[in-house]
Amino acid sequence: MPADRERQLILDVQEGSHDAFRELVELHMRRVYDLAYGFVNDHDDAEDVAQEVFVKVYHALKNFRQESGFSTWLYRITANSALDRLKQRKRSVARFVPMEESHLSGIAASQGTDRGEDSILIERALHELPTLQRAVVMLRHIDGFSTKQVSDILKCSEGAVKTHLHRGLKKMRKKLEHLKDSDS
């Protein structure tokens, strides 16, 4: 969507248009969900956080100035909300959440090929990474944000992002090898 359209939507929401808000939600909902999942590592929590983010955005948009980028602002709210959720539930940063079988079988059923099996292994490996490494790897390699954008969203230096990426990818590779060995 062109930036002009997004700007117009924001203005419309600020003037009270519900249709514009709905369009804005539909435009960003998947990415917000993906980002939330990157932190909370659980689909139910990701859903709740994503909804909560848009409720916050709805109230905060009234005072939003278009000088700063809307997407970065939105993803920062998402990252903060997801981190708050982690704190609330007293989860440790490297907490392991067993992956739900329904999600795994869902992927296998929808793909049913080698690609499907690889996808499952990648998701398992990602699932087992520490929170920040997983979030950074997903933001950079699945969501396609640049290193600069990731550092803006997470409010850390680009160097820190690269360090997390390096460590995350390294661990992922090891986990993938381990998972492939144990599967075969």
Binding site: F21, Y33, H43, V55, I107, H166
Partner: protein, 285 residues
């Protein structure tokens, strides 16, 4: 000569082509003679390739239906939260403020204030024994509020019944027409899309108006129907055949027409029960 540590630190940038030519050359030279760094490079490359080519977004685990309902869920949550957030009294806010500060003085002050408020409440109860006509007036006020709520509830149900009736006509038209001839008759399809758009708007207003717990089933039916209508409203001319088939499948799978008929039957039964009660009440009088 660069160390393993420096080389490995730059491997990610190397793979992303984000290094200067000089640093890139240094890595090329190093990995030719260093098996450990070459292995590390290969390992990272494989992980990055796998991620790029085969990883799925978490949002892809959710169905299309889920995403169609997402914005509506957010809107419902906003509505619910705004109704739950009742304005707090001045005393309540003051007490909260004092307790938040957590200072001994604040606690003392808060306790004193609470005692004063409590004493005032007891005093006003003691001296204010409501007169019989005041009790009657309160009770009349309550009845009037209940009546108002009932009128609103019934008005929304009538509106929902009208919406169901119109949607039923539209869906029967689509279900009973051959997909190919429906798509070929562009004017008919266009009319159905326009009608759906109007009904979608109607469904959003009705859904938010059906707030009583007894209206839950009706609200769900209105929302399910709303999703089907959105699909009809968004039918594209180029891919209409596939789109119409999806709509027909959705109507059949969800038993939408059956549910509408059931709702109509229940409404008719309720209406005849109400008439019976009315007659009985009149005869008793």
């Amino acid at each position: 000569m660069k160390t393993h540590r420096t080389i490995q630190k730059n491997l990610y940038d190397y793979l992303r082509n984000e290094l200067s030519a000089e640093d890139r050359r240094a890595i090329d030279v190093h990995v030719k003679s260093c098996a450990a760094c070459a292995g590390e490079l290969q390992s990272m490359r494989t992980a990055m390739d796998l991620l790029t080519q085969k990883a799925r977004r978490p949002s892809e685990h959710r169905s299309e239906m889920y995403w169609q309902q997402f914005a509506e869920k957010v809107e419902r949550r906003i509505q619910t939260e705004s109704t739950e957030e009742e304005p707090q009294s001045f005393v309540g806010r003051l007490l909260d403020l004092l307790v938040e500060n957590r200072k001994p003085f604040s606690f003392g002050f808060a306790s004193a204030l609470s005692l004063i408020v409590l004493a005032f409440a007891v005093w006003s109860l003691w001296i204010k024994v409501p007169a019989p006509n005041q009790i009657a007036s309160d009770s009349a006020g309550r009845r009037s509020n209940e009546l108002q709520a009932n009128i609103q509830k019934t008005a929304m149900e009538v509106r929902a019944a009208d919406y169901l009736e119109q949607s039923k006509v539209l869906l029967i038209g689509i279900m009973n027409t051959d997909t190919k001839s429906l798509v070929e008759s562009k004017s008919l399809l266009q009319r159905q899309r326009e009608m759906s758009r109007t009904l979608v708007r109607e469904s959003q207003e009705i859904s938010s108006g059906l707030t009583d717990p007894s209206q839950q089933r009706l609200r769900e039916l209105v929302s399910d129907l709303g999703l089907i209508l959105v699909q009809i409203a968004n039918l594209e001319t180029e891919h209409s055949v596939q789109g119409v088939e999806i709509v027909k499948g959705g109507v059949e799978r969800n038993g939408i027409l059956f549910k509408i008929n059931l709702e109509e039957m229940q409404r008719a039964m309720q209406s005849s029960r109400d008439k019976g009660n009315e007659k009985q009440a009149k005869s008793t009088i």
